[in-house]
């Protein structure tokens, strides 16, 4: 989890406004419905919109360089680490009901129970989720989202895409993100102005992550000779790993024939 957090971030993650989301929603659903149906090799990188994606990537880099990264420095240096961590815990805890819903949709009852237990422990003993006593008790978080639910249901990954402000994604992951705006029961249970605290704390947690994993993210965005290709590769590999996608036959063949060439009789 440690590294994945660092790696999913390359663009940046803040919270887009509702209107923008709505627009993106329509656009992306239309886009992905057309793409999700095709079968494809899971190993390769499918990126037919590379030109557009690279343009968005350049904008994301500019956004990071001039706004997100400097802001994260101010935040990281201004707020002491325990408080930053508390905010991260708090945001993660508020997200747990969404995780449970997705566990159920994936028919993973054991995980749903575990995360329910985690939510109860951290909300009570952990003072509303600011602390995380559940992890040392062995009840760690095993993050999931609706993108994974779609994977479990058999939907294909679709094309790679880089989203404005949000960074690398795929058709499937983007649809998942949009659906996940509606999968957290807390949003419906907490009255309107107060429930914005979830989005707000999640946004702060992202800023905190940008600071915490600064050296890794900087090395990808600013020290690579092709930061777009790096971010794309890192995102896709890590995403597939989290979903439990196995090594492909093509890759096995490639490795076996190379060893045969080098060391074979």
């Amino acid at each position: 989890m440690g590294l994945s957090k660092r790696i999913i971030l390359p663009g940046s993650r803040t919270c887009p406004t509702r209107a923008r989301l709505k627009m993106a929603c329509v656009l992306v659903v239309a886009l992905s419905l057309s793409a999700c149906g095709f079968s494809q090799p899971v190993d390769g990188i499918q990126d037919p919109n590379e030109r557009l994606n690279r343009r968005i990537h350049a904008e994301n880099i500019a956004f990071d360089r001039f706004l997100f990264r400097p802001a994260s420095k101010v935040y990281g240096r201004g707020i002491p680490m325990p408080i930053r961590r508390g905010i991260g815990n708090f945001a993660g805890n508020l997200n747990l009901p969404r995780v449970v819903v997705n566990n159920l949709l994936q028919f993973r009852i054991g995980k749903a129970l575990k995360h329910t237990g985690r939510f109860v422990i951290n909300t009570t003993l952990g003072m509303g989720g600011l602390l995380d006593p559940a992890t040392p008790m062995g009840v760690e978080e095993d993050r999931t989202n609706f993108g994974e639910t779609l994977y479990v249901w058999g939907f294909k990954e679709g094309n790679f895409m880089e989203l404005p402000l949000l960074g690398p994604s795929t058709d499937r992951a983007t649809v998942g993100m949009i659906v996940d705006l509606f999968t957290n029961p807390l949003v419906y249970m907490v009255p309107s102005p107060e429930n914005a605290i979830g989005v707000f704390s999640a946004g702060l947690a992202k800023v905190g992550d940008r600071y915490e994993y600064s050296s890794t993210i900087d090395s990808i965005l600013y020290e690579s000779e092709d930061s777009y290709a790096q971010a794309r590769s890192l995102y896709l590999q890590n995403r597939r790993f989290e979903l439990g996608v196995e090594v492909t036959d093509d890759e096995v063949d490639e490795i076996d024939s190379l060893f045969e060439d080098l060391y074979g009789e």
Partner: protein, 201 residues
């Protein structure tokens, strides 16, 4: 056809060169226990260097040596070059392997700084396809633990790891992208790339 034969000879030559120092006659299939032992050694060597308190440049040299001793640098270098390995001469492949080893030790060695005070635990080993995968967990101070897998395969009588996979991210695949981008920037000039890799950082 001709290309294929040429590639085979070149690769075989390179392999022979790299493995020349290996002990002959021990070319038995690698067992899970042996794979695990190899990575136990790698991890304890890395830990020793990190906690030695040496200067950065000394640590980087030591990482390069560890990489040289335990990793199959020939396989990694060829896989990283991908299609470009096919058009390379044997001398170019050899030079690239050496330059790449230095580049990789420095690039990743710098990051091992973050491991100070942390530890890597070897969890398990299992056979996967034609190789062994040794799973380890890195516990860094103030961070959620994350997984590092080593892919181990017997090569000409020696057990070596040919890839390192951090949370699903293969060093080989990441560097294939990066080296590919570097080659594109140099209009495919491998000699230029080799000399740049030798001189950076």
């Amino acid at each position: 056809m001709v290309n294929d034969v040429k590639r085979r000879t070149v690769l075989a030559g390179l392999g022979a060169g790299v493995v020349a120092a290996a002990v002959p006659g021990s070319a038995m299939a690698l067992t899970t226990a042996e794979a695990r032992r190899l990575i136990d050694d790698v991890v304890s060597e890395i830990t020793r260097v990190i906690n030695s308190g040496g200067s950065e440049s000394r640590m980087l040299t030591q990482f390069e040596r560890i990489f040289d001793r335990f990793a199959n640098t020939a396989v990694i270098a060829i896989r990283v070059l991908g299609a470009d390995a096919r058009s390379a001469s044997q001398a170019q492949l050899r030079d690239f392997t050496v330059a790449f080893r230095r580049y990789i030790a420095r690039k990743y060695g710098r990051r091992f700084r973050e491991f100070i005070g942390g530890r890597i635990e070897v969890d398990s080993a299992r056979a996967v396809k034609s190789w062994h995968e040794v799973q380890t967990t890195a516990h860094l101070q103030g961070e959620a633990p994350f997984r590092i897998d080593f892919l181990v395969k017997e090569a000409g009588g020696r057990n070596l790891f040919f890839d390192m996979v951090i949370e699903g991210i293969s060093l080989t695949k990441v560097e294939r992208e990066e080296i590919g981008a570097m080659l594109d920037r140099r209009r495919g000039n491998l000699d230029q790339l080799i000399s740049d890799l030798r001189n950076t950082g």
